[in-house]
């Protein structure tokens, strides 16, 4: 049974691609067979974050247009046996994606026995974003704790509830999860940032993960290593927890409160 998960947000720059990369790695690390698809036609980034940009020969649009087979376009991850990347086309525009084309690719992945298909949505609410969410069973809505991101996520949640195949066919709708990124407990405490509770209340959804603000994310992106694989990092642990929750394990939220500096930290400036 394949589950299609869309990672979306409406707003740009909140961490959709970082999240797609880390969740897909986390699921593959649990032994699941995972494909992660970049829907951002014309502005592809997932290949960079996954560190496979030099291995992209064929892309999603090539598969849809029949220039190559799906097998030729799927890039096997070098770190995880069961993880595959389908890159977006950089040279086409988003009109190259069609509902039927996307359906065909997803059906083939399902037939191929993938456990999870992650669809990395582009920002905005246009064609690419629409198609990324259209066939989804579940949605991870990535949100930053600030008002504009929350409003855009609200808009996206509205679309998830109406503009998806599940919504149209009345198959119980898409299961939605919230994932907060760039969360800084210190700034929440200072009243500069919305808290987890605020966001939860505004959007009325359960939170599947809270990813702390960290310089590790940028470092990992530049290195082409999904940040979840970066050992000894709060971000990696937070994403690992989110993967567990996706798989149904109940875990308390971590990294949501300001760390009280211990005696030694205070003595030596932590």
């Amino acid at each position: 049974m394949t589950e299609i998960i869309v990672v979306t947000s409406g707003k740009g720059g909140v961490g959709k691609t970082t999240t797609s990369a880390s969740l897909s790695c986390g699921l593959a690390r649990k032994g699941k067979k995972v494909a992660v698809i970049d829907f951002d036609i014309g502005l592809r980034n997932l290949d960079l974050i996954m560190g496979c940009e030099r291995r992209v020969v064929f892309d999603f649009v090539n598969v849809i247009q029949g220039d190559c087979t799906l097998k030729q376009a799927l890039i096997k991850d070098k770190r995880l046996e069961t993880l595959y990347v389908l890159a977006a086309s950089q040279t086409r525009d988003k009109d190259a994606l069609t509902t039927e084309g996307v359906r065909k690719v997803l059906d083939e992945l399902i037939a191929d026995g993938f456990d999870y298909i992650l669809c990395d949505s582009p920002a905005g609410i246009e064609k690419g974003a629409h198609l990324a969410m259209y066939f989804a069973d579940r949605a991870v809505v990535v949100v930053n704790p600030e008002v504009s991101s929350v409003r855009d996520s609200d808009r996206i949640l509205g679309l998830l509830a109406s503009k998806t195949e599940r919504a149209e066919k009345g198959n119980g709708g898409v299961k939605e999860h919230l994932l907060l990124t760039r969360y800084s407990p210190r700034r929440v405490a200072a009243g500069e940032m919305l808290s987890v509770a605020d966001v939860k209340e505004i959007l009325g959804l359960d939170v599947i993960g809270v990813i702390p603000e960290s310089t590790d994310v940028l470092t990992a992106s530049n290195a082409g290593t999904p940040v979840i694989l970066n050992e000894d990092s709060d971000v990696s642990e937070a994403y690992t927890d989110a993967v567990e929750r996706l798989l149904g394990t109940e875990l308390p939220l971590r990294f949501v409160d300001e760390q009280k500096k211990g005696f030694f930290a205070r003595m030596f400036g932590g």
């Binding site: 014309g42 502005l43 592809r44 940009e53 030099r54 291995r55 950089q90 040279t91």
Partner: protein
Amino acid sequence: MNATADAARIAALDIRYGQVGLLQLKLRSTDPGAILDELTGKVATVPQFFRQTPICLDLAELAGEPDVAEMRGVIEAIRRCGMLVVGFAEGPASAALAKAMSLPVIAGFRPQNAAPRTVAAGVPTLAPAPAPAPPPQPLPALIHAQPVRSGQRIYARDRDLIVTASVGAAAEVMADGCVHIYGALRGRAMAGVRGDAGARVFTREFHAELVGVAGVFKVFEQLPADLAGQPVQAQLDGEELRFARLG
């Protein structure tokens, strides 16, 4: 004093080379009566065009070689129609006749040059036989002076492509001929897109993701140390794509 000084400076003549349009008259008969009849009819339609018009005679379609007396009759008939024979078109029969009649042999008539002139004049029967299609002229290379950005594609159809800037990662440059990149190549370059196995890819700074010639591709997951950042050319050697440092 001034007048003589000025006069001394002016040469008696200048010799210059120049091209002029010239009507050709292709003879199929040397009968002056027949020529006069046909020409009179044609001249009557556009008399201004034929008045004092220089004519080059083409003898290639005559059955036999005409003698000097015959030719004098022909030239006289043409003159009476208002035109002046100035020479013979180059051909097997022309040389001796031209010498005997003190007329030049005019060489190097290119059919594609002569045809439009006569056709434009509205006298298709005077035109030489339909000119063979001129050999295809190679198109000049497509020159692209701006950086080719990620996601851009440039295709030079039927010609070479010259990029005087860099080609970014995930950008694509293609040509039916060769691809020359005078900046860095960080994206994809394909030469001989429609099968020319002799086409090549050149770059001043090699960081390519993918290079192809005539459908044979190589993906660079890791750049070979001896090529990275170097001036490189790629060419097909049989079925194999070879890369070598330039210079």
